[in-house]
Amino acid sequence: MQYFVQQMVNGLTLGSIYGLIAIGYTMVYGIIGMINFAHGDIFMLGAFIALIVFLILSSIFVSVHVVLFLLVMMVVAMVMTSLYNWTIEKVAYRPLRGSFRLAPLITAIGMSIALSNFVQVTQGPRNKPIPPMVSTVYNVNGISISLKQIIIVVVTVALLALFWYLVNKTSLGRAQRACEQDRKMAALLGIDVDRTISITFVMGAALAAVAGTLFLMYYGVVAFSDGFVPGVKAFTAAVLGGIGSLPGAMLGGLMIGFIESMWSAYFSIDYKDVAAFSILAIVLIFLPSGILGRPEVEKV
C-alpha cells in the first residue's frame, strides 16, 4: 500500500508537468485546429532558458533563497519562451493560414527540428546538469515526498487556477473561446482574431516554460533532445483527455503520469512508454474524441 501511494505521488508530479505542456497543444488546436508539433521543443527551450538563468544567477549571488531563484528562472523563461512562440506563429504559421490543412502541420514539424538543432548547435549536444536546487525530502508514514514534488504540484495548481480564471472570467478568455467556436463571427464583433491567436500561442508557451523550469529542477539535467519525448507524451495526454478541452489536457496529463509510474513500479520500466501509448490506443477505440472531448458533429 505504501509503495502504491508512493507511486501515486510520483505519478502526480510527472503528470503535472505533462499536463502543463498538454494545455499548450490543446489550446492551439482549439483555436486554429492545428497540432503544433514544435510545442515540445518550446518546452525544452523553456528548460534551457531556465538553465541559463540559473547559471547566471548562481555565478553572481552566492546564497539566495531557492524560491526566489526559481521564481526568477520561471519568469525569465516564460517571457523568453513566449517571445519565441509568438515569433514562430507570426513567421511560420500565420502566412499558411487558409492554406491546406497539412501545410502548417508540416511547418510545425520543421519548426520542431529547427528549434532542437538550434539548441544543439548553440548549447552543445551533451546533457546539461545543474547542482540540486532543492534536496529536502519529507517522510510521511514511510512515504517519501520531496520538496521538489510539492513545489511542482503547488505551482501547477496555482497556474491552473489562474489559467481557469483567465479563460472563463476575463474578456480575453471570452474572445479566445469565441475565436475557437466561430472565428468569422468573432471578427464581425470587432475581435482582432490574429491578435487573439498570438496571445494563445504566448499563453501556451508560458505554461510550457514553467513545465520546462520544473522539469529542470526535478531531474537536474536537460538536453537539446528533451523536447521530443515529453512533447509526444503531452500530445498523447491532450488527445487522451480530448483535444480542444482544457480540463481534458490536465486529466490526460495526470493519467499518462500515473500509468507511467505505476507501470514502472509493478511491471517493467522499459515498457512504460509502451503502456502509456497502448492505453491511449485502447481509450481512443471506445472514446474516439478522448475522455472529455466533444464529438465533432457539434460544429454549427
Partner: protein
C-alpha cells in the same frame, strides 16, 4: 438620394468565390436614419453583399464607404469597430457560450462598459432571452437564436445594423414582433438598418427604401411603397408568397 452623404455607400462592388462571380457591379446606398431592404430570391447574392461589407469575402472591384471612411480593404474587426453590427446569415451564435456570454461578446467593443444598461434594453425587446440567460447558445431554439443574434448585434451600440433574414424560420407572430422592434429602434433612436429579406412583403412595408437583387445585380430600387406596388416585384416576390 444624396449619395455623397450616404452613411453606407456601396459602389460598383464585385465579389467572387474563386472564379465564380457572386456580385457584379452592385450600387447600394443607405442614408442615415433609413431602413433599407434588399430583397431577392435564394442565391441572388444578398448575404454575400452583407458579408462583403465586412470584407469577408473582399470586394475585388468597387468601393465601400462608411461614414466617409473607405472600408473596402479594412480588416474585418476594424470595420466592426466603426460601429457596424451584423446579425449574419445562419445567426452564428457561439454554441458553447451561454446567452449572457454571447451578449457580452456583442458588447466587447466597449469592454462591457454599457453592458448592464444595454442588456436591459435587449431584454425589453426580447424577454425570452432573459429566461434563457444561463443556457448555452447551441441549445436554444431557432427563434431564440435569431433573437439572440439580433440582441448581440444591438449590444455593440451600432450606427448601422445589418440584418440578414431576421424573419427566417420564425413564427409569424415573432416576425411581427421583430419587425416592430426594428421599426421602434429606428424611430426612437434613429438607428440605421440595412436588412436582407426573403419575406419581401414584410420587409418592404417596414423599409423606407428597397432594392431588388437578381443574380448578383441590383435590378430595381425605389421606396418601399413603390416597390410594393410595382407589378414586376409583385409577380416575382409577393403574389402567392405572402405570409
Amino acid at each position: 438620394m444624396t449619395a455623397a452623404r450616404a452613411l453606407l455607400d456601396i459602389k460598383g462592388v464585385e465579389t467572387y468565390y474563386g472564379n465564380i462571380r457572386a456580385l457584379s457591379g452592385v450600387d447600394v446606398a443607405v442614408n442615415e436614419g433609413e431602413i433599407v431592404a434588399l430583397i431577392g430570391a435564394n442565391g441572388a447574392g444578398k448575404s454575400t453583399l452583407m458579408m462583403t461589407i465586412f470584407g469577408t469575402p473582399r470586394a475585388r472591384r468597387g468601393t465601400i464607404t462608411f461614414a466617409g471612411t473607405d472600408i473596402t480593404d479594412l480588416p474585418t474587426h476594424e470595420i466592426a469597430r466603426l460601429r457596424i453590427a451584423q446579425s449574419p446569415e445562419g445567426r452564428r451564435i457561439f454554441p458553447r457560450m451561454t446567452v449572457m456570454e454571447n451578449l457580452q461578446m456583442g458588447a466587447s467593443l466597449d469592454n462591457l462598459k454599457y453592458y448592464d444598461e444595454d442588456v436591459e434594453k435587449v431584454f425589453t425587446l426580447f424577454p425570452r432571452l432573459k429566461e434563457r440567460i444561463a443556457q448555452r447558445g447551441g441549445t436554444l431554439s431557432g427563434g431564440e437564436q435569431q433573437m439572440l443574434s439580433i440582441g448581440r448585434a444591438l449590444m455593440a451600440r451600432p450606427k448601422l445594423l445589418l440584418l440578414d433574414e431576421p424573419s427566417l424560420g420564425l413564427a409569424p407572430l415573432i416576425v411581427k414582433q421583430i419587425f416592430d422592434a426594428i421599426r421602434e429602434l429606428n424611430r426612437t433612436q434613429g438607428l440605421t438598418v440595412f436588412l436582407v429579406e426573403q419575406n419581401a412583403f414584410g420587409a418592404l412595408k417596414l423599409a423606407t427604401r428597397g432594392y431588388v437583387m437578381v443574380n448578383g445585380v441590383v435590378t430595381m430600387s425605389g421606396t418601399g411603397k413603390d416597390l410594393l406596388a410595382n407589378p414586376e416585384v409583385r409577380a416575382a416576390y409577393l403574389e402567392g408568397g405572402r405570409h
